[in-house]
Amino acid sequence: MTTYLDTRLKPGKDHYLAIGLEGSANKLGVGIIRHPKGELSDSNKAVILSNVRDTYITPPGEGFLPRDTARHHRNWVVRVIKNALKDAQVAPSDLDAICFTQGPGMGAPLQSVAVAARMISQLWHLPLVGVNHCIGHIEMGREITNAHNPVVLYVSGGNTQIIAYSRQKYRIFGETLDIAIGNCLDRFARTLKISNNPSPGYNIEQLAKKGKNLVELPYTVKGMDLSMSGILEFIDNLAKDLFANKKNKLLVTSDGSKITVEDLCFSLQECLFAMLVEITERAMAHVNSNQVLIVGGVGCNERLQQMMEIMVKDRNGSIYATDERFCIDNGIMIAHAGLLQYRMGDVTDIKDTVCTQKFRTDEVWVKWRLD
């Protein structure tokens, strides 16, 4: 049976294959996905054939600059594509489409990967599909977890959004008014000069596990939105006082013991995550949903998942999260979302493949969802 999704099925085939290229931040990812024909469902799932990633890692205390990140992507992109094909045991001629991240993200890294995508699309005679990075996270999260219509919390180094689906758009209910949550955690990691390997956020999380004392930080939920730059400035100053052994009554607990770096990491996480939980809960009430899907790099954080779970359980709902293969930026999510677009007839002419640093989640027409 042919559905609306299958008008592009190649003769004699019962499936589609797409390659996805992601490079909007410091991760370069290439993945290959297979969709069986027909509508995807719990019994008709996408199959991941390969998911290769290489991360640009900077020295402790340093963030990643566009120029060096682009250099990393350029110098690895061909090798990573080759490895993804090898892992999947797929030949270019088996593919249906080349999907690539068109935004949002950092300009030079995005462009460096788009150049490779354009080149292989011509060499292999395959159409290009430009994908919104956030849509990639959302669709991959839904596919992996079987969460059908969740409120989505998208938390990463570049984005903090609370999203709900309505009439073929992923609508943003709330978002950060300044910096992204991952950026806030990463920048605090830089203040502490802790390692960026495997990621600064992961290392903050490990330190936070050892924290016991909660330091009260500003709580800055503003309507459905939140602000984090003030919190970062506040805790940065606390950390500086702590390192300089400067007297500060916030750095002493009620029983007289000293606040540690671990306590600061713990307090920062508790404060930021409590704000996210509050806004997510309001979004759930608003759209009358009892599912929450957490996507994006910060979504791997176990404490965030735990706090969200307590709230969701109270509402008799369920929480869905993915592991680091999918919540951290990857190529497979771009292949997956791009293939959904391709199956609905969306391809991107090479002249229109210019990347854009600002590309909002709610700009994308989600043609493949009919609910």
């Binding site: 594509i81 150049v115 490779a116 354009r118 060499l123």
Partner: protein, 89 residues
């Protein structure tokens, strides 16, 4: 009124005119960052009525500084294209 007096022509020989088109199509969509300070034009050798098989990229900039940034960045992307031809061509 500024003039674009600092010029560099880059000549990249390739194995076929088709490859010249592929590389040109891969590099040309992206707009230059400061169009008032630098202009970049792509030509296939065929368009220039040459018997060679090459991609010619002409840069015209306002200064050596802008020329250096644009040429270096273009060569970086060119090398990605060539590596694609090298490995997948």
């Amino acid at each position: 009124m500024t003039t674009l007096d600092y010029k560099l022509d880059l000549n990249i020989p390739l194995e076929s005119l088709q490859h010249v088109e592929y590389v040109k199509n891969s590099l040309s969509p992206d707009p230059v960052l400061k169009p008032t300070e630098i202009q970049v034009d792509f030509y296939s050798s065929k368009e220039l009525l040459s018997d060679d098989i090459a991609l010619i990229i002409k840069f015209q900039g306002q200064s050596d500084r802008i020329l250096r940034v644009a040429v270096n960045n273009m060569i970086e992307n060119l090398k990605t294209c060539i590596e694609c031809l090298e490995v997948f061509g």
